[in-house]
Amino acid sequence: MSMGHSSSRRASSQEQAEAARPDAGGTRLNRRAFFAVGGSLAAAGLLAACGGNTGRGDASTTSQPGTAAGGAGTSGAGTSGPAASGAGTGGSKPTLQQWYHQYGEEGTEAAVKRYAASYPNATVEVSWFPGDYESKAASALLTSSPPDVFEGANGPTIDQIQQGLVADLTDLLGDAKSDFNPAMLERMSYDGKVWGIPETIDMQLLVYRKSLLDKAGVKPPTSFEELRAAAKALTQGKQKGLFVGNDGGVGTLVGPSLWSVGEDYVTDGKVGFTPEQAGPALAGLHTLFTSGNLLLGAPTDWSDPSALTNGLCAMQWTGLWNFPQFQKALGDDFGVAAWPAFAAGAGKPSVPIGAYGSCVAAKGANVDAAKAFVKWLWVDNTADQLDFAQSYGFHLPSRESVAAKADKLKSGQAAEALKIFQTDGHAQTPMLWTSKSSTAMSDAATRIIKDGADAKAELAKVVATVEAELKRVTAK
């Protein structure tokens, strides 16, 4: 032990002596310095790459100095000048980032990339996000390099608008304003301005297998009671009567339940529902949940056509977007209906309609170029809008003149769905329905539907939360 110790000490003092010699120390320092500097450079490079990896392309093409340098650059660097005029003057084209959530239907991603590539005035890079897209987009908006153009479910949130995170798009509409679906335009407006351009309209509705209903002697339901009875009659063997989502309808049926008793989320800036009226409608869903006639725990959820096409259920709450797949799998053997009124005379049948809104980030480097692109794609480019609406999943064009040209939506079940859309369509949730209100409602709905909690007491708590939220957002 002592031998080893002393020998190591000897070696170290020899090294010290060597280090003291100027020439030896000099070369050693150089070699070490090289590695040290090289190492820290590599580290700096790595960090810069992390910070700069905002999904943007090469900074040299974007006329925005600073964004690639570790995210340190500010967004003000390359404002509108070169971007707006770049196309006409033959200067370098700006590069725009466009974000989409993942559409499930085949071909959609290739289609939106094709539209973007054909835009002449900018290089548009499309990013496609599966999973929790909304959170990703909301977080990215806070950074100094947000996506220039992004889509938000039913447009941007009220908080994003009030914080100045999204650009005012009112002037993009021009003469086309009156051509847009008024309910959707209204949904994306706040303070008299339009904050998102409705891309295409989505619609949820009840789809059923005609043959199975005929066999069981069941008519399409016109009241909640009839729906419950139909679900019971259609439950046979491994086939359940009804599928409204694996959560028993928490995510899909709150709106239809409110409308089914003639109420709403928000009416004239005030809470639009009462525990007395809405309570029984939601409590009704609990009886459905525990009846054994509801499909629960399916591998795919309500937004996917598989449960109905694989024969797991006879009726499914789903979306218009699935119609091409229903036609392929079931041929003509399916029919459509709205969510029924709770009871005769109590409310009305309803279907939720919503649209992804194309928005422009106010902190983006090329706001004007981004606005020009949104106008080109979602206002002026009616050919691509039509392609997007009916070539992959089925959606409704937001522009009524375009909707009139959508031939594939003019026949069969799609045409029947459109009739329901005209008479029973409700905007999914209103602008003033904040994320906090939505969480409060979905928590309460879960407790009512799954646990059988007292619906009136739970809804009373929701009313208190929503009142506070309405007060908060209308105070600004």
């Binding site: 003092s13 959170s135 725990g297 591998p299």
Partner: protein, 317 residues
Amino acid sequence: MSSAAAPAASRPWWRVLAGNQNRNLWFWAFVGPFFVGLLIFVYIPILWSLYLSFFDARNTVTPTDFVGLQNYATMLTDPNFLSSLGTFALFAVFIVPVTFVFSLGLALAINRTRWFQAFYRSAFFLPTACSYVVASLVWKMAIFNGLPSGLANTVLSWFGIGNIAWLSITDPPWYWLVLVTLRLWLQVGFYMILFLAGLQRIPPILYEAAAIDGAKPGWQTLRYITLPQLRATSAAVLVLLLINAFQAFDEFYNTLSSFGSYPPYARPPLVYLYFIAFGREQNLGQGSAGAIILAVLVGLVTILQLRFLRERDGARR
């Protein structure tokens, strides 16, 4: 030593900074990159969230609206946050002792195995390499889906038990079975390895001496030799398990959330805070306040636990 001290006086400043044998330089060459990473990705964010927690920071990370302790007051009176702490406690009560016993049992069994020890060790350790997300999807869609064709329901049907929608229903709360088995599968192997390492450090002399003194193999040697010798490992395992339980996120989020919303049950604190801070709400002030409260709680519990274990240790001696 004196030969080294003499030239130091005439060294240029950068040589002095570089230290004896350039030690400082080397220290920073190796530690520097990691330190910078730690600073940027860990310490600055922690300090930043402390800062954010005193502001009304909605949709912004550079807030101006100072609100003092209001975010803390909101979070501490928020029934959802409090119930999420309750959820955590319930989860920890399940998962900590169960993982402890399972991994210790496995380690003891494997330690006694004479044949294929390396094979069993690898086989049990392998799930640790699986991602939480992948495992969650397998559990949710293949094993515990609600259809008669799901694996769990198929097995039950052999015994004539009907179909169960494991993750949809709340009464009885079968979702806990899904979550606990998932985490057990993923982490038992890792703690088993820790225990195995601990077991292999126990000197065989102790067992020989015990045998000579008449201790029976089995429970007596386990109780009076193996377990006391494993105390350091056990303390480490308990602390790690508890912190891991506190940080529960991945499997909860991936089995129970749908379309960007999460049910109010089995919602651990991190999932709740995630939705406040990073969901559409983007309330970074309240989210940060909740995170700070959680960090303080984890710290407190860890200190208390270590102190408790040490006191018992002291009492024994």
